[in-house]
Amino acid sequence: MEDNDQEIVENGSINPLFDDKIDQKVEGQPIMSEDSLNESLIIQSYNNQVDISSLPKLEKIQFEKLEEDYLYVGFINTVIIGLIALIFVAMVGFFSETIRPYVLFGYLAVILFFAFMMYAEYRSFKNSGYALRDEDLFFKSGWIWTSMIAIPYKRIQHLEVTQGPVSRLFDLANVSVYTAGGSSSDMEIEGIKQDEAESIKAFVLQKNKQVKIENSEDAI
């Protein structure tokens, strides 16, 4: 979280622009009674030319690493699934005469596959990270195919802190971020400390009061 202060300063560079816009709105208030004028005023104040190179740069973001323990959570989950696969292969070998001679290959294939999965998890873990800026939230992940997604706090509809059974042992949690509409624009920050997850949740709620409404609604 220490990096955050730096990010806020970074985002702060746009604040003059931001204030500018608010000023215009306040000035425009008396005239705003007329509908059409009001509309055109709002549009004008939004439609100032923006110098894109002066905007805060996402290239400069320092991503926070996920908790080291989360790697073990991933490993344990993979090993559990791998063991189930091994048992399945053993069962097939036990019941089927024809397959029995090839069972060793089956074991080998399963072990190799899950070893690769663990390696992929390790590499993906190394690449994963999240960042909170003044106005938006970033998450990046992936090893072979990488991706990075950014959601402005303003556009968040709903927030959830979830915990899997293995994660609970390590006191880790996931933060699920939901936006309006379909599910494709949703984000999940995985593998951070439970209390950190709660504080991220609180931070987003403070940034966007609308999220709170949504949350209390869901409690009913």
Partner: protein
């Protein structure tokens, strides 16, 4: 007429009739299909009475369930929210705060129209399980409820104090229906024209898949079409195949025409004070409305044939939980370019799309597509050679030549551009697709990179809004970062109502 919505009340008894019809319909469907397969194909080994009993019992149970839930379903307005209590055995309460209401749409099928009632659909976006349907409301009552909800919604909105603009639009939408202007109406002839020049290849493929399925099934039953084919002379064979192809094409076109006419019958597309309304339908009478600031993207498209006669489709996508739900997006088939221009002018008055510079995506997009199409054609050709499938091999070799042409055409048309307010995308191969999206409606931006792209410093960009995703594939990483920075900034700085 005055209606008191504060008291918890049931939907009208017409719903019972609707439920009965629905059960009859599902029962009919359950029996009708097996009848066809059993008696037409002469398959009689499947006459298990338990199966019949099972269907009847299930239908009766679901009928009982529907009836119980009708008697238990009650709705009322409580201060600033609509509450719907329902559930046959369990208790389910849906609470919809007015400010969450996205749109209120009416639907009427034949039975609805006979009793002059409507089904009221209340859509919310964002939280799932928060949509409500009130069936069998008298038309006047439904209209009164709609106006009440929208008015209350305005008050709820002004309490939260979003923007004045949004509030005004809602009142206008609810009360000043007269202040509307018809943009276009489509006669049956227009609809037939529009659907005739639709892209029929997709439906043709579907029909062939269906024929293939029946062929396989018939084979299983013991009717082998190939037995008959051998008896027919070769020359006949060719004409037969030609005739089948032609007939299928005719049927496809006919289905498409009938479907379009039924669903868009008597379409009227009307400009309201601050939104659009579309009324359409032959059996199912549907009224959809879209308020300006809720429209996430405006698109227009054509097919190669449609362009020749100057017809375009207009799409307006609204925020929706079901992302690719066509019901939520307003589609107008058979508009011409001047209509498109008019809609753009009405929706985004201060905008001129011609000033946006359109950029091409990186050429590695084309390289990659051609590489993969050649690779897969080649691999499948090897398989075809191994199994000695001559016709398949010829098709694959043909595709080796055609796919690169296809992708070159696609690449040439794939363009994106943006100005201070809008993102514009265009694409298509034989068709032309255009999308216009206000940048401030961006919900999230996402970049993806494959190993190939990483080597060349290229990424693919996905821009999500409340109605779906727009994609810009294969652009330089620096350019992608510029776009992401800009889109995020625009979304964060803008306080206009966006959903």
């Amino acid at each position: 007429m005055q209606f008191d919505f504060l008291k918890p009340q049931r939907e009208s008894p017409v719903v019972i009739i609707l439920i009965l019809f629905k059960s009859l319909y599902s029962l009919g469907r359950q029996f009708f299909l097996p009848f066809i397969t059993i008696y037409l194909l002469g398959r009689k080994d499947n006459e298990n009475p338990f199966f019949t009993y099972f269907i009847v019992i299930v239908t009766v149970i679901s009928l009982m369930r529907s009836l119980i839930s009708f008697f238990r379903k009650k709705y009322y307005v409580d201060e600033d929210q609509l509450i719907v209590r329902s559930g046959a055995l369990s208790n389910k309460t849906i609470t919809i705060p007015f400010e969450r209401i996205q749109s209120i749409n009416f639907e009427q099928n034949l039975i609805h129209r006979f009793f002059n009632v409507v089904k009221l659909k209340i859509d919310t976006a964002g939280s799932s399980q928060k949509e409500a349907e009130l069936d069998g409301l008298q038309f006047a009552k439904a209209e009164a409820l709609r106006i009440l909800l929208l008015k209350e919604k305005d008050e709820a909105l002004s309490k939260i104090n979003i923007t004045e603009e949004a509030v005004n639009s809602e009142i206008d939408e609810a009360t000043e229906v007269e202040a509307s202007k018809t943009i276009l109406t489509l006669s049956t002839k227009d609809l037939i024209k529009a659907s005739l020049f639709e892209n029929h290849f997709n439906s043709l493929a579907l029909i062939f898949a269906g024929i293939w399925y029946i062929y396989i099934n018939a084979k299983e039953v013991g009717v082998d079409a190939e037995d008959y084919v051998d008896e027919i002379p070769i020359m006949w064979n060719v004409t037969l195949y030609g005739a089948i192809l032609l007939l299928t094409l005719l049927i496809t076109v006919l289905i498409s025409v009938v479907r379009t006419v039924i669903s868009y019958y008597n379409l009227s597309f009307v400009r309201l004070q601050n939104g659009f309304r579309i009324k359409k339908g032959l059996f199912n009478y549907v009224t959809l409305s879209a308020i300006d600031h809720k429209i996430q993207t405006l698109g227009w498209s054509d097919t190669w044939l449609k362009r020749k006669i100057g017809i375009h489709d207009i799409h307006m996508k609204q925020a929706s939980i079901k992302q690719v739900n066509t019901k939520e997006s307003i589609i107008i088939p058979g508009a011409n370019l001047s209509h498109v221009g008019e809609v753009i002018k009405l929706l985004y008055p201060q905008h001129s799309i011609d000033k946006i510079n359109m950029n091409q995506v990186n050429t590695s997009y084309l390289d990659r597509k051609i590489f993969f199409s050649l690779l897969f054609s080649f691999l499948f050709s090897l398989i075809a050679i191994y199994f000695e499938e001559g016709i398949l091999l010829l098709t694959l070799i043909g595709s080796m030549f055609l796919l690169p042409i296809y992708f070159t055409k696609k690449f040439r048309k794939l363009k994106y551009g943006y100005d201070n307010e809008f993102l514009r995308l265009s694409g298509g191969v034989f068709a032309d697709n255009h999308v216009l999206m206000p940048i401030y409606k961006v919900q999230s931006v996402e970049k993806h990179q494959s190993p190939y792209q990483r080597k060349r410093g290229i990424v693919s960009l996905s821009i999500h809004n409340a109605s779906g995703t727009e994609r810009i594939p294969y652009i330089k990483e620096e350019e992608a970062h510029r776009l992401m920075n800009f889109f995020l900034y625009k979304a964060e700085i803008d306080d206009r109502a966006w959903i």
